[in-house]
């Protein structure tokens, strides 16, 4: 009887996911642009006929923007180049005419926006501060001033180490670690685990702009958009067994995480190719790319291809050969969180 009750709970959890996924697919503002098949995507986008058709068919879109000279000294990014990349990516993703109107497709001017960065690896492999600053400026121009933006991650020390918390900059946003803000007392139940959510997520922001870093991960295989949301819970340490599967998918299916995430911009300027997620000298290589999507599964699927390609150039084994296939992507797709079939994703590549 007890196991029946648990199965029933699991069914309800999964039914909730499917319902939510359908709702998102049908009318969620965050993905309306990809579904709508707008005729004026952007003048900077060179789309193939197949890509246009894909948009019309309602495929999720992932925009990959590259800029060869974005890294100034091998690590730090050129602020101007980053702004150009963000502008191109936002326009291509949304179909709007400029980044301001693009951002307003995902966030309301009255929103409080969380910038979920990844600061674990410190300055050398965190979300570039130039990316955070630039997107913050763009949000401010869209009417969401800095005081209503919060950059957050698990630990304040990580925000400091990655320069996100540097008060001398003019970003205007606040930087808050979950260790300072705390976690909700109530547990969120998942089929395989239970967690407390970051109070930044639950109380201080209305929508989240996920800013992950592309990195190989010894335990998960890859860390990207989905895995970055482990920074919204109090116990990610409990979720790294079995290649983080199904934990990554289950965490991303939590309504407060799933529903608040409006947009993902992945920092793949200089991915960590091996021995991640920490920074390892010699194991990071420039890819000079930012990825944009509202479908985190689709974005991670495209990012995985980029990661494997960079690893192959270094003659590193595939993640599958290491037993590190990020199987959580398929689980997330099964949960209705997005699309993990590369052929079913509209990938738009832009060079600026």
């Amino acid at each position: 009887m007890a196991s029946d009750e648990q199965s029933s709970d699991r069914r309800r959890f999964l039914q909730g996911l499917v319902g939510a996924a359908l709702a998102t697919a049908g009318c969620g503002s965050s993905c309306a642009s990809e579904r709508a098949g707008r005729s004026e995507i952007s003048t900077v986008v060179t789309q193939t006929e197949a890509a246009r058709t894909a948009v019309l068919q309602g495929k999720p879109r992932v925009v990959v923007v590259r800029a060869k000279k974005v890294l100034t000294d091998g690590y730090d990014a050129d602020a101007g180049a980053v702004r150009a990349m963000l502008d191109a990516g936002l326009v291509a993703l949304s179909g709007e005419k400029n980044h301001t109107s693009a951002l307003l497709r995902y966030f309301k001017p009255t929103d409080r926006v969380g910038l979920k960065i990844n600061g674990l690896a410190g300055r050398n492999a965190a979300t570039h501060v130039e990316v955070v600053d630039a997107i913050s400026d763009m949000l401010a121009r869209a009417g969401i001033e800095g005081r209503r933006q919060i950059a957050f991650d698990r630990f304040t020390r990580d925000l400091t180490a990655s320069r996100i918390a540097d008060k001398s900059r003019s970003g205007g946003y606040r930087a808050v670690g979950n260790d300072d803000a705390g976690h909700e007392e109530e547990l969120v139940q998942m089929p395989s685990s239970a967690s407390r959510l970051s109070r930044v997520l639950t109380r201080q922001v209305d929508g989240v702009l996920n800013l992950p870093v592309l990195k190989q991960h010894m335990l998960a295989g890859m860390t990207g958009a989905l895995k970055n949301n482990f920074g919204c819970i109090h116990n990610p340490n409990k979720m790294h067994v079995d290649n983080c599967d199904p934990y990554v998918a289950e965490v991303n299916a939590v309504p407060a995480i799933r529903d608040k995430q409006r947009l993902v911009i992945m920092d793949a300027l200089r991915p960590v190719l091996d021995n991640g997620p920490s920074y390892q000298p010699g194991m990071a290589a420039p890819a000079n790319a930012l990825l944009f999507a509202t479908d985190p599964v689709a974005l991670d699927t495209v990012a995985l291809g980029i990661l494997e390609g960079l690893r192959a150039k270094r003659a590193l084994p595939t993640l599958a050969m290491l037993g590190q296939t990020p199987t959580y992507l398929a689980t997330a797709a099964r949960f209705g969180l997005g699309v993990n079939d590369r052929a079913a994703i509209d990938v738009v590549e832009i060079e600026v």
Binding site: A2, L187, H234
Partner: protein, 375 residues
């Protein structure tokens, strides 16, 4: 109504000690200092080795977490800092209470005595039924704690005429603190006990056993499937730990929390009892205790009394001498019977000792040796 968590928090937040007063409740005593959230202090960890590129491998438990720089292991309390492994809970308990020893439960270890019980954050398992999940499944910075070095623990235990007990969460994840405290306690003539899930590596466990006087192990199930599915752990290392403890001569008792439909099948219980008899002997007390809905299992009903009674019958039928029921005050199965004359030598109700007829470790009626630590 005050929830269990609110109660614990109020105890901690107000900086109080819970003193045992009766079968289930307690009174609040003035605290020595306040509990509070703070940045945990790092203390060098033991039982680990270095890996290339500043990674480390923890050798404390069977998980053998490979931890990169700035990351933590599964337990959440041991962190890699620039290639050096540190513990963030040494001397920093988040729960400090005075309990009856029967609450652990240790029925054959100084009945009626007190246990000065401490716990830190963290656990190397994640049991869906955990009663103390708010500390066991938390990181050090997520809970209120206070600094209490080993000498201070021992001083307070002496003050309350109690043994030191490492309990509530999982002492294996704060084993350095346990060992240092138990060592100090032994020097001071204070005994030390541990309540653990037993999911530890043999080498560190053997080191701890040198300074411990009794251990109670939760044998949570008797299939690998149960441990994997319900606890994110493994059964085999726990069985190995039980043999290590038994071989050390340190007093050992077992608890099996019976969860309806999960680990209470007659076949599983019988297999477990047979294993205990064969590998640990008939003298090791085995407690079948009642499950209360908690944590990730709030949708499961409490264990029926009949299940506990049936489990106890199986244990006795398989030849175990001391099989108890627990968490149901008044249910038959709380008393200790003499294996030879079958007269009751210890009467209990809940956590309360009512009568004891054991003298110098022997039954007062027939003189048979009753295994345990009685004085």
């Amino acid at each position: 109504m005050l929830s269990r968590r609110d109660f614990f928090r109020s105890c901690g937040g107000a900086g109080c000690l819970l003193a045992a007063a009766g079968a289930t409740g307690g009174v609040l005593l003035p605290a020595q200092r306040a509990f509070a959230k703070s940045t945990p202090r790092a203390h060098p960890a033991r039982f680990w080795k270095k890996l290339p590129q500043k990674a480390v491998e923890c050798e404390l438990c069977p998980k053998h977490c490979k931890v990169e720089d700035r990351e933590r292991g599964f337990c959440g309390v041991r962190e890699n800092r620039d290639g050096e492994y540190v513990t963030l809970v040494w001397g920093q308990p988040c729960a400090v209470h005075l309990d009856p020893i029967e609450k652990k439960p240790l029925f054959h270890f100084r009945p009626g005595s007190r246990a000065f019980s401490i716990a830190t954050a963290g656990c190397n398992l994640e049991c869906k039924c955990c009663q103390n999940w708010d500390i066991s499944q938390s990181k050090p910075e997520d809970v209120d704690f206070q600094f209490m070095p080993p000498d201070e623990v021992v001083r307070m235990a002496r003050e309350y005429d109690a043994c030191v007990t490492f309990t509530y969460s999982e002492p294996i994840v704060f084993l350095e603190y346990c060992i240092d405290t138990a060592t100090a306690a032994r020097k001071a003539g204070v005994r030390s006990t541990m309540v653990t899930g037993g999911s530890g590596e043999s080498a560190p466990m053997k080191e701890a056993l040198k300074v411990l006087d009794a251990v109670k192990v939760d044998l949570k199930g008797f299939t690998e499937n149960y441990y994997r599915r319900m606890c994110k752990g493994k059964l085999e290392p726990v069985l190995k730990t039980l043999e290590v403890i038994r071989g050390s001569g340190v007093w050992l008792e077992l608890v099996h929390l019976c969860i309806p439909g999960q680990n209470d099948g007659e076949g599983e219980i019988r297999d477990m009892c047979r294993w205990v008899k064969q590998h640990l002997g008939t003298d090791v007390p085995l407690h079948f205790t009642r499950f209360h809905p908690e944590f990730q299992m709030k949708n499961v009903a409490p264990t029926p009394n009949a299940t506990l009674v049936r489990c106890r019958e199986i244990g006795l039928a398989e030849g175990l001498s001391f099989v108890y029921t627990g968490n149901v005050p008044g249910l038959a199965g709380e008393d200790t019977g003499c294996p030879r004359c079958h007269k009751t030598v210890v009467f209990r109700r809940g956590f309360e000792l009512l009568e004891m007829h054991i003298k110098n470790g022997r039954c007062e009626f027939c003189g048979a040796v009753i295994p345990g630590v009685w004085s």
